[in-house]
């Protein structure tokens, strides 16, 4: 299947078939012909100042493969016309190296013949074959590419049979031919020496980097390196043992060997210690890069949460755990706490309300009044409110920087100028996923690619057929309806959440007044998260249904639209919930902490989200597969919907970021959740799903996801946090910020205290006053950012224009080439006519 068929279709003037690929037999069969053509071209060389020495410079196209040259130029020749008619000399020099074509050679004699087999003389063909554009590697430096040509030719030369095997008749010219090749070989040596000299002049690190990027085989690179550095063979064989080193005893020698072998054993097992290395390889091997991107995104989120958790653990949680404040008596543990987060969890390290608002470990406070403040003591006082505020602020700042950095890096990797055109060629060359190792997955990939190609071809055909007015109106109507439905559903959900939350609040007030059982109270708390999670589960399926009804022009657009609708739903519902929490600050009674209750709500939301994701996996994947297999008897399995799953991850992460101020241990819950999710999703994927059939540009979509993580998700959480810190009044009886007007005041009082403590700190307070509190600085930074963005856009526009100009230039060069080829051919043909 992979070798081109050697048989040509005789009656059919199709493109010329290439001769059989490199097998030792073919050169010898073709040699007599080549010798004849060479003999004929020798006199020509004397008349035309064509550098004959270059004839042998083609590594891949020898005179034996002239058919390939024919094939590539037949289209150009078709456009030429009259000039060729003169040169179509019937049967004069059949290219006998392709015997099957001999019967068809008469077809060339006819004047109205199809110009697919133009008669080029062998000399022309040889020159064409030696054109630099045909020789691989011509894009690099001249010496490098030439060296590559030489070595490739060396490789080919060594596959030809030795001289003795050729027939007698061809020997004299053949010998001459070989001499020419030998001359070429001498030139090769020269060029190699040049290259070696070039390499010697470079510093060694640059040299090894240059060698690394050369497309040569390892042996050739090694010999180059040897020559250029003048060292001996330094190939280290990991298993081969050299003689004992001088100056070592036998025992030391064996010890060193033993240590080295264990070290190598450790090194070879090190990559497997990387978290999930084998699991990710398994997923990539079976499902390809698209599904793998979901799991890589999960890994990224895990890292962000780990960072958040570590900072909070070290600076806030551990400190408070070491110096616990006085708290009311703990309630007994009931199972429901894991779901509701209330009950015995209320007055623990989990929630903001537990943390003390004074300085921990202050030597002046502890101990009886007779003990003086011992300043020189090793105890360090720890200002809890300040630590709490700063840790949250710093961790958000670091997360922001990391997000922006990874977003810009992902964007840089995935954005290409002019990447929207040339879809078909890109799809053919770039979409094959080499990671896939299972036979069935490979078949699936092939099926998908075939479908996509057929779809693209159909689209291209339809482009030229404009749609009728009726069809366009119909399409517009369908689009309008689907968007109206989705926006309407979002509005309906938001209103439902609002009224339901109000209703639940009233119910809770009533039950608190009536002193109903704690179990009932806490169960009522679960109602709102349940409803919200149910909406988040059901509506995405509705949207994907709407999407299939709509049938967008390109499947990529369909994915974008689905993401847009899902995101809108989730973010608007979260916005409504945030408003609800902040407006209900005054809790059920004066005693309760609103911070703790908001923290508990967010804990409940996170847990409910996890439960519903599990439910979704169970129903959507396992159950659906069983239904498809058993009831409907279809071989297809449910597809893994990457976009929906990633949006669920983003939603969960937004909840964590919203809640971290009120519940410092929430990142730990999220870490646990993500770990469990990885294994559950992987198991379900392996058993139940197949890879998506729609085209999926993995790096582009990864950029989109991380952008979505940064912009609506993180930005929304940061805005909520800033509003809470700057404007929300902390509750009277709990939280580290009890007695202050706003949370931010703790920072301000600290700065004021610094000011009073000494005149040398005034620069700090000045920075605080003029940079942080003054908005001018912010406007200044934003305007600089906008200017930079504008400059970059202009640079990209300029690059696009340059690409267009260069393409025009290349087309012109191609036209020049065609013209010169024609002239060359006409000259040779006239020479042959004369002789």
């Amino acid at each position: 299947m992979l070798e081109p068929a050697a048989a040509a279709d005789e009656g059919d003037p199709g493109p010329v078939e290439e001769p059989v690929l490199w097998s030792p037999a073919s050169p010898s069969a073709a040699r007599p012909v080549a010798a004849r053509t060479l003999a004929m071209s020798q006199p020509l060389a004397s008349t035309l100042p064509i550098p004959e020495g270059q004839e042998d410079t083609s590594p891949d196209l020898s005179p034996y493969d002239e058919g390939a040259v024919h094939d590539s130029f037949h289209e150009i020749i078709q456009e030429q016309g009259l000039q060729l008619r003169e040169l179509c000399l019937g049967g004069k020099e059949p290219l006998a190296y392709m015997p099957p074509l001999a019967p068809g050679a008469e077809a060339w004699a006819k004047p109205e013949c199809s110009w697919e087999h133009p008669e080029y003389s062998a000399a022309t063909l040889r020159i064409l074959a030696s054109m630099p554009s045909r020789t691989i590697g011509s894009s690099r430096g001249a010496i490098l590419s030439q060296y590559y040509n030489r070595t490739a030719r060396l490789r080919r030369r060594s596959s030809r049979p030795p001289l003795l095997q050729t027939s007698r008749a061809a020997r004299p010219s053949l010998r001459q031919y070989d001499l020419e090749l030998d001359a070429g070989h001498a030139q090769e040596e020269e060029k190699r020496c040049l290259l070696v000299k070039e390499l010697q002049s470079l510093p060694s690190s640059q040299r090894s980097h240059l060698l690394l990027t050369m497309p040569l085989s390892l042996a050739q690179k090694r010999s180059l390196r040897q020559d250029s550095s003048g060292q001996g063979d330094t190939l280290k064989k990991p298993r081969r043992i050299r003689g004992p080193l001088p100056g070592c005893s036998q025992v030391e020698y064996h010890l060193i060997l033993g240590v080295r072998s264990t070290w190598y054993g450790l090194l070879s097992s090190l990559p497997t210690l990387q978290p999930w290395h084998y699991a990710l390889k398994q997923i990539g091997g079976r499902f390809g890069s698209s599904v793998l991107s979901y799991f890589l995104f999960l890994k990224t989120l895990l890292l962000f949460n780990l960072l958040l958790f570590l900072l909070l653990l070290v600076f806030v949680v551990a400190m408070q755990a070491a110096y616990p404040p006085t708290t009311p008596a703990r309630r007994t543990f009931m199972g429901l706490e894991l779901l509701t987060g209330a009950g015995s969890f209320t007055h623990t390290l989990m929630y903001c309300g537990y943390y003390s608002n004074d300085t921990l470990n202050d030597p002046c406070i502890l101990g009886p009044s007779s003990v003086r403040c011992q300043r020189g003591h090793s105890r360090l006082p720890y200002n809890m409110p300040l630590a709490y505020l700063f840790t949250i602020g710093v961790s958000f700042f670091i997360t922001c920087i990391l997000l922006v950095y990874s977003m810009s890096r992902s964007f840089g990797e995935s954005y290409r100028v002019d990447s929207t055109r040339g879809d078909l060629a890109m799809k053919l060359f770039c979409t094959w996923d080499w990671k896939v190792t299972q036979r069935r997955s490979v078949q699936l990939l092939q099926d998908n690619l075939c479908t996509q190609l057929k779809e693209l071809l159909g689209e291209l055909r339809d482009q030229y057929r404009p749609r009728s007015l009726c069809q366009q109106l119909h399409r517009l109507a369908v689009l309008a309806l689907t968007w109206a439905l989705s926006l309407g559903s979002v509005l309906a959900c938001v209103l439902a959440v609002y009224y339901f939350s109000e209703h639940m609040h009233r119910v809770q007030q009533k039950s608190w007044e009536q002193h109903s059982s704690e179990m009932q109270e806490e169960a009522q708390l679960l109602a709102l998260p349940l409803v919200v999670s149910l909406m988040n589960l059901v509506l995405p399926y509705v949207y994907s249904g709407l999407g299939t009804w709509e049938r967008q022009e390109s499947p990529v657009l369909g994915v974008y639209v689905a993401i847009c609708r899902n995101l809108l739903l989730k973010m608007v519902v979260l916005g409504m919930l945030c408003y609800h929490w902040l407006s209900r600050k005054v809790g059920l009674s004066g005693d309760k902490c609103w911070e703790t209750s908001v923290g508990q709500e967010l804990y409940r939301f996170v847990v409910m989200d996890f439960i519903f994701v599990l439910l979704d996996t169970l129903l959507g994947e396992l159950l659906w597969r069983l239904i498809l297999e058993k009831r409907l008897k279809r071989k297809q399995r449910p597809e893994f919907d990457i976009a929906r799953n990633v949006l669920e991850l983003i939603y969960g992460q937004t909840l964590t970021w919203l809640g971290v101020l009120f519940s410092p241990l929430l990142p730990a819950i999220q870490i646990l959740k993500l770990l469990l999710l990885f294994y559950i999703k992987k198991a379900s994927l392996m058993k139940n799903c197949q890879s998506p059939s729609k085209p999926w540009r993995a790096s582009h979509m990864s950029t989109v996801f991380i952008t979505l993580l940064c912009f609506p998700s993180f930005l929304g959480a940061a805005v909520f946090l800033s509003y809470t810190i700057w404007s929300a009044k902390p509750s009277e009886t709990c939280s580290p910020f009890r007695t202050l007007e706003t949370i931010y005041e703790s920072g301000k009082t600290w700065v004021r205290r610094l000011e009073h403590s000494g005149p040398s700190i005034t620069w700090f307070t000045w920075i605080h006053q003029h940079l942080v509190e003054n908005t001018f600085f912010l406007f200044f930074m934003s305007s600089i950012l906008l200017a930079v963005i504008y400059l970059k856009i202009q640079v990209v526009k300029g690059q696009r224009r340059i690409i267009g100009l260069l393409k025009e230039q290349i087309t012109n060069e191609g036209a020049d080439k065609t013209f010169l080829i024609q002239k060359l051919h006409s000259i040779y043909a006239k020479q042959e006519q004369r002789t």
Binding site: L2, P15, E18, L21, W22, P24, L61, A68, S72, E75, I76, S133, T135, I136, G137, S138, S139, R155, S159, S208, L211, L212, P215, S217, L218, A219, R225, T234, L235, K236, P238, R239, Y264, L270, S289, E413, L424, A425, M426, F429, C430, T431, D433, V436, Q438, V442, Q446, D447, L449, C450, K454, L457, L460, S699, H700, K807, E813, A815, K817, T818
Partner: protein, 176 residues
């Protein structure tokens, strides 16, 4: 040390050594560096077993004199280096070009593209493109990527197409 001349890390070279020695018969395991593994054994590797380009890969990376497409350990390392994470996009596109060039003539002409499409879409009955579709496909591809209009795609044009796709470097990977 081969580590400096390939894009592989030391661990990866060691793993490659282990996997290669499994392919070599027991008698030759001591001289693993001079052993050559025939093509039929190389394609039994799980990473290459289902790859439709397995024969082309062996052909391109083999430095065997006799043209039987057998791989030595260095050829194997070469192959893993090109398919590794750290290899540059240039090297990858270079070797991808050579793999797709079924007739080894230095350019991708119509026949090469036809072979490529057949390889990518598989052999099953339902998936082959019809002749007219194939012609239309190749026509469009040449229109899109053949800049100098000579009817073939040479290395530079190929690399230009590849440079427009950011997914190529991450999909052109084989990891042991």
């Amino acid at each position: 040390c081969p580590q400096e001349l390939t894009f592989l890390t030391k661990q990866e070279i060691l793993i490659a050594h282990k996997r290669f020695s499994e392919l070599v018969p027991k008698e030759e395991r001591d001289q693993i560096l001079s052993a050559r593994v025939p093509k039929d054994k190389v394609v039994t590797l799980p990473e290459l077993r289902a790859n439709p380009f397995q024969h082309r890969i062996c052909r391109v990376f083999s430095t065997a004199d006799v043209g039987d497409d057998s791989l030595s350990f260095e050829d194997f390392l070469d192959m893993l280096s090109v398919f590794s994470d750290a290899a540059t996009s240039e090297i990858k596109s270079h070797y991808a070009f050579r793999i797709f060039d079924f007739d080894d003539d230095g350019t991708l002409d119509r026949k090469d593209l036809e072979n490529l499409v057949n390889c990518l879409t598989g052999d099953a009955d339902g998936t082959r493109l019809s002749t007219s579709e194939m012609d239309q496909l190749i026509q469009n591809i040449l229109e899109e990527s053949d800049i100098d209009k000579d009817g073939t795609i040479n290395l530079s044009e190929f690399q230009h197409v590849i440079s427009r796709s950011p997914d190529f470097a991450s999909s052109f990977k084989i990891v042991l």
